[in-house]
């Protein structure tokens, strides 16, 4: 296991390097007219800054490779730069916002699994029955319903029918855990439901594969009850690959969180990025962009390691 972990960690280095180049190239290709726009919009305290100061603050007065190396070495020292608007370190703000997105993502993941696993298992057990067909149609419909529409409906209709609307002022978990959970449950439900479709389909496929195995036939032949065959023999084995889905869904969770945070006004990373885009606060945009990518990579690494722990065959490949 030790060498496996080491191998995986080493493999992360080139990917991280490439990711940093992607972020750098995407954002630092800022054409000159954007600077003019920033100045003319007067929205970054431009009255206090001259064009030269702005160019310097963005580091645009140096050559590209020089800019890149300065940027990377600053990151390695834990410095993501300062916000142009608030003049605060981006890293501190990111660390402030990260828990909100994490909580939303984790709750959505759990809710998604709670919806997907029972339906997926049921669907496989009753393959090609009306129940299976209904479950599959439901899953493919969920894939098509945009989460922002679901979120909008959740905001609009309860308010019209019952005069109920979700709390807008965010309460931290550490301040009032109960209020915080109450506030997060609805956004998490929307995000989790829209993500459950993929898991449902994957669970069904995996279960179908496992149900055809010899050991399942043996279990049936021994006269075990359906409950024991399904829960103890089939589900346990079918769920191992589903663990990888958590890694695959990490980008979807964070991408979805951007929209959900905007609808429910949750001060997470997504809302932070959108605010920064509106203010053209490039250091913040760059910082969030990079942190999102690195987070997804780390989640994937963690999932791979867990997978190696659950299934010894993976380690020896």
């Amino acid at each position: 296991m030790g060498s496996y972990v080491l191998r995986r960690l080493l493999a992360l280095i080139p990917t991280l390097l490439i990711a940093s180049i992607i972020v750098f190239v995407t954002i630092r290709m800022i054409p000159g007219d954007v600077i003019d726009l920033m100045l003319s919009q007067n929205d970054i305290g431009a009255d206090k800054r001259s064009r030269e100061q702005l160019v310097h603050a963005l580091g645009l007065d140096r050559s590209m490779p020089d800019q890149y190396f300065r940027w990377v070495s600053a990151i390695l020292q834990g410095d993501l730069g300062n916000s142009l608007w608030h003049s605060t370190p981006v890293l501190r703000e990111v660390l402030n916002r990260l828990p909100v997105t994490f909580e939303l993502g984790a709750m959505a993941l759990v809710i998604g699994l709670l919806i997907a696993l029972p339906i997926g298992v049921y669907s496989a057990m009753r393959q090609d029955t009306p129940g299976d067909l209904a479950a599959r149609s439901f899953a493919i419909l969920l894939l098509a319903v945009p989460s922002f529409w679901m979120g909008t409906m959740v905001m609009v209709f309860p308010s019209i029918w019952w005069g109920w609307s979700p709390e807008i002022n965010y309460v931290k978990f550490s301040e009032d855990p109960w209020q915080n959970i109450k506030q997060m449950i609805l956004p998490a439900l929307v995000l989790g439901t829209s993500l459950s479709a993929v898991t449902m389909r994957m669970t069904r496929t995996m279960m179908l594969e496992v149900l055809r195995q010899d050991y399942i036939r043996t279990a049936w032949a021994k006269g075990l009850s359906e409950r024991v065959v399904i829960l103890r023999h089939a589900v346990r084995n079918a769920l191992i690959p589903v663990v990888t889905l958590i890694g695959l869904q990490a980008p979807l969770l964070i991408g979805g969180a951007v929209i959900i945070e905007q609808i429910f006004v949750l001060p997470g990373m997504g809302l932070m990025m959108l605010e920064a885009v509106n203010q053209r606060d490039y250091p913040v945009i760059t910082g969030v962009f990079l942190v999102v990518g690195v987070t997804v990579m780390l989640i994937n690494l963690l999932v791979d390691l867990t997978y190696g722990l659950l299934d010894p065959r993976v380690r020896h490949q």
């Binding site: 990917t15 990711a19 992607i22 954002i27 894939l143 098509a144 945009p146 922002f148 980008p251 994937n300």
Partner: protein
């Protein structure tokens, strides 16, 4: 059968064109898929002929008719400026058709180019390309799009361009794995051994044989592109107003008035869901018909 004498003339199985054969299989084996294809064609039709179908202009303001519930005069109701929602949804379909089809076409082309080269050449090139694809796929599509739009500004062309790049890089994986399977076929080795050039092998031998996954990829990309674009427009970073994108209709000023006119929230969302649902179902049916190996997978 064995007792009957041989007929004078041999009737060959009806030589129908492969296209007709395909459609007859689609209708008989996958009726739901065929229905989805019809919905999709209807959507393309609405998009192409929006100018003729829409009863009103998409930005035709009529203050006397503001916030009217759906009626015969305004099937989908009107918004806070008295603009007809049906017309706005039809023009929205036009934007979705343009963005969905062109981004999907470009994305699929990019996927095929990367997948073919990476899969066929293998070795170091494949390794480097795959690491770049890995890194790209760690970023949520929406986050990349938001970051790029923050630099290049919102607009139709920018969105088509970035969307196809992001979706294209992600989709290259599917093409690559199809190429890796196909390149071990005897006919490819035969072509290589008679000295066919790499472009020739790729173009004449590999590409025709990986058409099924390419077609399926294209279909699913249409839905994905429409969905992501609407998300971006919803965040106010898509095609700028007054263009009535479906995502845009659900945000901005529409949002403020949804509590008085809930039909404002229904129409664009239903259009979006119906079209994406149809492309997904049609894509699934195509995959089952064209590529039995991928059956049941995601």
């Amino acid at each position: 059968m064995s007792s009957s004498p041989l007929p004078d003339t041999v009737v060959l199985p009806s030589a129908r064109s492969p296209t007709r054969q395909f459609f007859s299989r689609l209708i008989h084996e996958k009726p739901v898929g065929a229905a989805a294809a019809l919905v999709f064609l209807l959507f393309v039709f609405c998009g192409v002929f929006a100018n003729f179908l829409a009863p009103y202009g998409f930005n035709e303001i009529n203050m006397l008719e503001r916030l009217k519930a759906p009626s015969w005069k305004h099937l989908f109701g009107t918004d806070n400026l008295g603009r007809d929602m049906l017309s706005r949804c039809l023009y929205g379909a036009q934007l979705s058709v343009i963005i969905g089809l062109s981004a999907a076409a470009l994305a699929t082309t990019i996927s095929v180019l990367i997948g073919l080269l990476s899969g066929y050449l293998g070795g170091k090139i494949d390794m480097v390309v795959q690491r770049i694809v890995d890194a790209y796929m760690s970023f949520p599509e929406l986050v990349i799009l938001i970051a790029v739009v923050s630099v290049v500004g919102p607009g139709m062309l920018q969105i088509i361009g970035i969307l196809s790049l992001v979706l294209g890089i992600g989709g290259s994986r599917i093409i690559r794995s199809a190429v890796i399977t196909a390149r071990e076929n005897m006919y490819v080795h035969a072509a290589q051994s008679i000295g066919a050039s790499t472009p020739r092998v790729l173009w004449r031998h590999l590409l025709p044989n990986i058409m099924p996954p390419i077609i399926v990829l294209f279909t699913t990309r249409v839905g994905a592109a429409i969905l992501i674009e609407s998300g971006l427009s919803f965040l106010g970073l898509g095609v700028p107003p007054p263009a009535p994108t479906w995502g845009g209709l659900l945000s901005g000023s529409g949002r403020t008035y949804m509590f008085q006119g809930p039909w404002l929230a229904l129409a664009p969302g239903l259009c979006l869901t119906a079209v994406v649902y149809a492309t997904n179902v049609f894509g699934d049916a195509l995959r089952d018909l064209l590529d039995p190996r991928m059956r049941g997978s995601k």
